[in-house]
């Protein structure tokens, strides 16, 4: 099931703790600085498909800068 990760770049402090725990190793430091001067982390669009939706990154992030979404089958009417 496709999953995706949203990084709140205004909250990221570039600590890279999320990169440590991602099981697929798809999180990396970008070359972008946010307004506070931190180099923010990202998952590049081409790597996003590898995301398992485990949300370990969000669990590890001390700044609640990560939101994870996953898709699942909508519960239908019985079939």
């Amino acid at each position: 099931m496709p999953s995706r990760v949203e990084f709140r770049e205004d909250r990221c402090k570039g600590c890279l703790l999320c990169t440590e725990v991602c099981p697929t190793g798809i999180i990396q430091q970008s070359s972008r600085f946010n307004q506070k001067g931190y180099k923010v982390t990202e998952i590049t669009p081409d790597m996003m498909s590898e995301c398992k939706g485990c949300a370990f990154c969000a669990m590890m992030c001390p700044d609640y800068a990560i939101n994870v979404y996953t898709t699942k089958s909508a519960k239908g009417g019985g079939k």
Binding site: G14, C15, L16, C61, P62, Y64, I66, Y69, T71, A74
Partner: protein
């Protein structure tokens, strides 16, 4: 048909604002564990936060709770006053290693020993963060700080204090556990322990205590990743993780 659902659900009581904590500081994680625990237990509306002095003095900006500021080290005494005034509320202190194990040693020992039905979250990062990296009672032997620049040595500074073990030895204590948040496995265990600590408060069986081993990258002069690694390589060997007291564990077997 597919539907996108949100996996990450941050509790409402966790204020949505950027924090002043340094990159890689574990305070944010520890705050979240408290928020999750009191949310899961349905205690948010009746929880009163007793803050302390240290980097986390601003915790009241990050948890939307009735809160009171304490003088350095005195949070367990202030919390005792709050709980005695409002015995039906959930009262907790959140303290660092200087606040709890140095200036506040008497207050935490006696609050715990009296078995006050309150919870203390003790964030141990082996250094005084807010004031710029001085030695703490939990600073490890050989660790360099601004007030032991050659590294802590037993002859001059004594040995680091293991608070959870000491607290567990006191009669009024119901629950005492040491956790870490340096990896996912430990974070999950930490969340369980913090939740249990608050749950025990609702059961009025005595004092509950969770020590959280945490980083201070800035004052350890390390990157966040290096600091996180130090938890595993240096701190856990001296401050072992695990439960040291659980008065309800035998009962439930």
């Amino acid at each position: 048909m597919t539907q996108e659902i949100r996996v990450t659900n941050y509790p409402e009581v966790l204020t949505d604002r950027a924090s002043h904590y340094c990159p890689g500081c574990h305070h944010g994680t520890a705050h979240r564990l408290v928020a999750e625990a009191i949310t899961d237990l349905g205690l948010v509306d009746k929880t009163i936060l007793v803050g302390s002095i240290g980097c986390s003095v601003f915790i009241y900006n990050y948890l939307t709770l009735d809160a009171i500021e304490s003088p350095h080290g005195r949070a367990p005494a202030v919390a005792t006053g709050v709980k005695r005034a409002r015995p039906d509320k959930i009262v907790f202190t959140y303290q660092g290693d200087g606040d709890l194990a140095s200036i506040g040693m008497a207050e935490i020992m006696h609050c715990a020993n009296r078995g006050e039905n309150i919870t203390t979250i003790f964030v141990n990062n082996t250094v005084y963060g807010m004031t710029g990296g001085q030695m703490a009672p939990t600073t490890l032997v050989g660790q360099k700080t601004t007030t032991c620049p050659g590294g802590r040595c037993r002859e001059n500074e004594g040995m680091p204090i293991r608070m959870t073990e000491i607290i567990a030895s006191l009669g009024g204590v119901a629950f005492a556990e040491r956790v870490a948040v340096n990896n996912i496995k430990n974070i999950k265990k930490a969340r369980k322990a913090v939740t249990k600590a608050f749950e025990y408060q609702t059961r009025e069986v005595g004092f509950s205590f969770v020590e959280v081993l945490a980083t201070c990258p800035t004052n350890w002069r390390m990157t966040p990743l290096q600091a996180n690694k130090r938890i595993e390589t240096e701190m856990i060997p001296y401050f072992p993780l695990g439960n040291f007291k659980d008065v309800l564990a035998k009962e439930e077997k």
